[in-house]
Amino acid sequence: MIAHEMNISTDSKISLGQYLLNPFRTLAGGTALLLGFIIILLTAFVGALGNTHFDGVIDVHSGQAAPLWFFFAESIIDWLSIVLFLTVSAFIFSPTRWRFIDLLGTQALARWPAIFTALVFLPDANRRVNDFIIAKLTQSSTQLTIHPMDGVIFAFASIVTVVVIIWMVVLMYKAYAVSCNVKGVKAIASFIVSILVAEALSKVLIILMFKRAL
């Protein structure tokens, strides 16, 4: 096939905003799956370095040390939980045919902003603030204090985390809408239900895994 013989429209011109909020216009299928899976593993690895747990589809907590495999398992449970419920939603609401590999791949890639959360929670200051908050809440120790700089670092990490979670949810929705050709109220409603149920399932699975393994 000779490309110059074709009349090619300007469909492929994509702005930076589209790359950040809807990369699935140009990226899906096997490529998205490979990239997304690598990023999920990388995020889990960086998370393990700072004891940052992605312990739910849209959940992040900094805290307890665990073996490396546990962090990988958490991230994979998160990814597959949302894929499971979006698959059910797509079977019900998609008016056309769609490929499972597109949903699987784009949902993996939609999790890429989580790497920023894993990175901002790397400094030890976050753990110190975390310990301080737990101590205050449980009143287990009144001697603990925190350095103001630790507070600033923790506040920054928290803000980044909120932004990242919103960004990730937008990406997950776009991935679902593009991969399964679902639009309008049906798309939004089925996505909200799916993400809530997937969040609950992933939480339960991770807690069960935690109780059995650690």
């Binding site: 090619i8 899906a28 597109d102």
Partner: protein, 98 residues
């Protein structure tokens, strides 16, 4: 080249062809001819359909050609199929009313 108007600017109903002329001898044929369904699509949609035929209907090749993802191209095709069905329905309704 000018874009072929397909809808009436006053009432938005489909336009029909009233006259055709030979570019060589200037013979003119007059009548009332319905535009083919494809002519009622936007130039972008027509371009998409032509390219789709040229790649033998392969969505994967279309995705490569347009540098878009497979589901994006498939969704675009589904939209066009939807418009074709709607145009056919409108044409059938128009014929029944006549």
């Amino acid at each position: 080249m000018k874009i072929l108007p397909t809808k009436c600017p006053a009432c938005h109903n489909p336009l029909i062809v009233k006259s055709l002329v030979c570019d060589e001898c200037k013979t003119e044929v007059q009548g009332q001819y319905q535009l083919p369904p494809l002519a009622s699509f936007s130039p972008e949609d027509q371009e998409f359909i032509l390219n789709f035929l040229k790649v033998s209907g392969s969505l994967k090749d279309m995705a490569k050609l347009l540098q878009l993802s497979y589901p994006t191209v498939r969704n675009r095709l589904d939209e066009i199929i939807g418009r074709i069905k709607l145009t056919e329905q409108q044409n059938n309704t128009g014929k029944e009313n006549q």
